[in-house]
């Protein structure tokens, strides 16, 4: 994985830059020594590391503005970072860039119970929003598995999903307004704290959501709050084959039921988990689906009946339905422990998040089995089946020469198979550096150029998180001048990094 060549000229100004930044945020909030910078070297993908030039922790939106203005004037790059749980390298530092960390911007600013909106700072961990409103019977719906740690700013930047986004939608569906700072230090307010506040002008908030920190630094977010469902019950459904489990996913949705969550685990995951939860799964089970249904008690009871019938018709061999909250939690614990259970089976694992049409699940899963043979690496599957969002867990040993490269190639093959099946490279983790070079497989040169032109509208100097998402740097000046038509590769000679 190649990153843009760091600028030695910038690196040589490190001390002066640190001094300038200290004048903005105070001396304690610029980190320049090696030991304290080290924890920031990578995000959730530990395979990619770089020492940030400096780490800056602004304490308010004004300071964010001043930091960006300062860096823009000096031509210094900025990488925004929340909690650093990104699984695509979105928050990977640059050696000649300032890492702007939002952890001090961690307040829930206002809760409007009646209009059901909360205004929060970007460094607030996802779970804290729900904690701040649960006494009102409300919650913030998007629930990435990382919600204890990952920040709402990071969630917005990656348009994070979660187990419940099948029914309730992803981050983008729950944002009503935001305040953001452009690389120049200019602040913009988009939308507001009510439905429709953003209408009547381009949906700039929509394009900022999921923009992986490349367009602006988000400094405040207005999120929609929802009433907590009265009841939730989960059905655990075992199938004798992966195909039957996959077919059941389409069948449930086909009868008109949208479960709150619909998760898939294969036998390898079940075996790994059963060690941890000390519970055995039926020997005949090749794959397990967990289907959560929520709503009012009567409604959920009715849906449990419908889904159970569908599952049986699709060949389920065993159904377990939670009758108490305790049972529900216990059934879910297998899914929650899945990744750490696999982690105990192998020294390292690598997980991507390609997403496919739901009816292509069996086809792509079969291809994965072939790839595993080709690369000689074991893998397991545990994913958001209801969304067609795959999370293949590729097991490898970083200490073995060549193993990481093989795992990366295996992962890339899976993503290519996803795109070929009509899907996309990323459902919720983002492109970052991890999937950057595969963008040309999903998009044409023109598609990508159109996206990069949007980047130029926000950040014409390409100083905000460069080297992420696109396989080439932006050439904003040239985009304005040059124009070659359909199919003629525009910048055939630009070096890919």
């Amino acid at each position: 994985m190649q990153m843009p060549e760091p600028s030695q000229a910038i690196i040589s100004q490190r001390d002066a830059l640190a001094q300038g930044l200290r004048q903005i945020v105070g001396k304690d909030w610029v980190i320049s020594d090696d030991a304290q910078r080290r924890p920031y070297q990578c995000d959730g993908i530990t395979a990619y590391m770089a020492m940030p030039l400096l780490v800056v922790l602004p304490g308010c939106a004004d300071e964010v503005q001043a930091v960006l203005r300062f860096c823009n004037e000096k031509g210094v790059k900025i990488v925004p970072r929340g909690s650093g749980t990104s699984l695509s390298g979105g928050a990977l530092p640059l050696e000649d860039g300032v890492l702007l960390v939002t952890s001090r911007l961690c307040n829930v600013l206002a809760v409007d119970e009646h209009n059901r909106v909360a205004r929060v700072q970007p460094g607030v961990p996802n779970i804290k929003i729900t904690e701040a409103v649960s006494h009102l019977g409300l919650c913030y719906m998007p629930d990435p598995s990382s919600q204890l740690i990952s920040t709402i700013g990071g969630n917005v930047a990656e348009n994070a999903g979660g187990v419940h986004c099948l029914k309730y939608g992803v981050t983008a569906n729950h944002i009503l307004g935001m305040q953001a700072v452009l690389m120049t230090g200019e602040m913009v307010e988009l939308g507001g704290a009510y439905l429709g506040a953003a209408e009547g002008e381009l949906d700039l908030m929509g394009v900022l959501t999921g923009s992986e920190g490349l367009l602006a630094v988000v400094t405040e977010i207005a999120v929609r709050l929802e009433p907590v469902p009265e009841v939730a019950r989960v059905i655990s459904m075992s199938f004798p084959s992966v195909e039957e489990a996959c077919a059941c996913v389409g069948a449930i949705i086909g009868v008109g039921v949208i479960p709150a969550g619909l998760e898939f685990m294969d036998r390898k995951v079940l075996d790994a988990v059963s060690v941890l939860i000390k519970e055995k799964f039926d020997d005949r089970t090749a794959a397990l689906l967990l289907c959560e249904l929520d709503g009012t008690a009567v409604e959920v009871d009715a849906l449990v009946g419908v889904v159970s019938d569908v599952a049986r018709a699709q060949g389920a061999i065993e159904l377990k339905v939670s009758t108490t909250e305790e049972e529900r939690q216990r059934i879910w614990s297998s899914r929650k422990l899945a990744f750490s259970a696999i982690g105990k089976l192998c020294p390292d694992y690598y997980c991507t998040d390609g997403t496919i049409p739901r009816n292509k699940l069996p086809e792509v899963l079969n291809k994965m089995a072939d790839m595993s043979k080709k690369y000689g690496l074991d893998y397991a599957n545990c994913f958001h089946a209801g969304d067609g969002n795959l999370h293949p867990i590729i097991m490898y040993d970083a200490a073995k020469p060549g193993d990481l490269e093989k795992a990366e190639e295996f992962g890339a093959d899976v993503l290519i198979a996803c795109v070929d099946a009509g899907g996309v490279l990323s459902g919720e983790h983002g492109i970052g550096v991890e999937k950057r070079d595969l963008m040309t497989h999903q998009f044409t040169e023109i598609d990508l150029q159109q996206q990069q032109m949007v980047k130029c509208a926000f950040d014409p100097k390409d100083l905000l998180n460069p080297g992420k998402m696109f396989p080439t740097l932006c050439r904003c000046a040239e985009f304005g001048r040059m124009h070659v038509h359909n199919g003629n590769l525009r910048f055939a000679d630009i070096p890919r990094f």
């Binding site: 009547g200 049409p357 998009f443």
Partner: protein
Amino acid sequence: MTDTQTIASMRPATTQDVADILMDAASKGEPLVVRGNGTRVGLGNPVAATRVLELGGLDQIDFYDPDDLVIRAGVGATLDNLEQVLAEKGQYLPFEPPRYAGLYGTNGARSTLGGAVSTALSGPRRILTGAVRDFVLGVEGVNGQGDVFKAGGRTMKNVTGYDISKLVTGANGTLAALTMLTIKVLPAPRAEVTLVLPAATLEEDVALFARMRALPLGIGGLVRRVNAAGVCEVLVRVEGTVPGVAGNQQVLNGLLGARGGMVVLEQAQSHALWAGVRELDCLNAKPDELVWRVNLPATTMPTFVEQARKAGCINRFFVDWAGGVVFSTMRGVQPEVDTLRYRKMAEKAGARATILRAPDAVRAQFGAFPPVSAGVAALAARTRTAFDPAGILNPGRMTVQA
């Protein structure tokens, strides 16, 4: 009624034709009116262009995959056609797109998917299921240079590149001539009833809306309006499974019983009622009246409405989205004066006041859409340039030139 003296209309049948037309127009710097079938002429600002690019001919359904909740169709596919195709499989467009043909005196049966997405108008169900933007999964379009591009995809979740699908939704044809759209659909609720009860004061009704919405009762419509008999009433649409709706209805009976006088409309009646609400029928807008939409926090709505009525800026009105939107008519006697006053009032209340219908001159002068800050306007302008550097796609439709 709009778009000054258009003299020539082009109605391409393929994406490539659209690209050819736009490449040609770009080379000449010639502006175009971009539209679907023109059923919403009068929405947005008038565009000064002599040629029309009409996309209604791109009307094929590319695929419909009910088990995957997704449909892909040309922008010219009519909403009526799509809704019928979906209904055959028990599914629907969750954003309940209004046609507003009654407002513009056009034929709603010709209203297109492309128009619905480009204008981003969402119906009463928005409070439950979301807005148009929440259902556009992928787009294909032609930018102002004649380049065909696509963005997004067909999967439910997607963080692969910038969300251009959201950006073009509600762009009113100013970024690209859209050619194909991939839309997320949902199973239509199996059961639906509407509870009708007498209205109280706006404050009381908004408070009641909030109490209902605090519970997860599947409420897909909360409206306060005056009915055909001149009686002011509150409408509560409850949707879901058959037992779910029955259960929720019981809870609501408890919550609303104190008011008395409740009438229950079953499925078919309820359906017909909301089709009318969606089209703003209860406004009963007279031909010479202006029609407005104001988005605002429900809690500030009652005061805003009182003031605007006193000031004569609201003639008739009704409230949708649980109090979060006010649709109103304005007398057409002194439209310039009243428009300015109403906009000022809205601005003070932190609200956004959009003109849905007004004479061309009024929209041209004040802008159909409420102004945004200078910074946002500049960023939006740069974004438009990124798609349409020559400014040939619906120039001025969304912004008033200074």
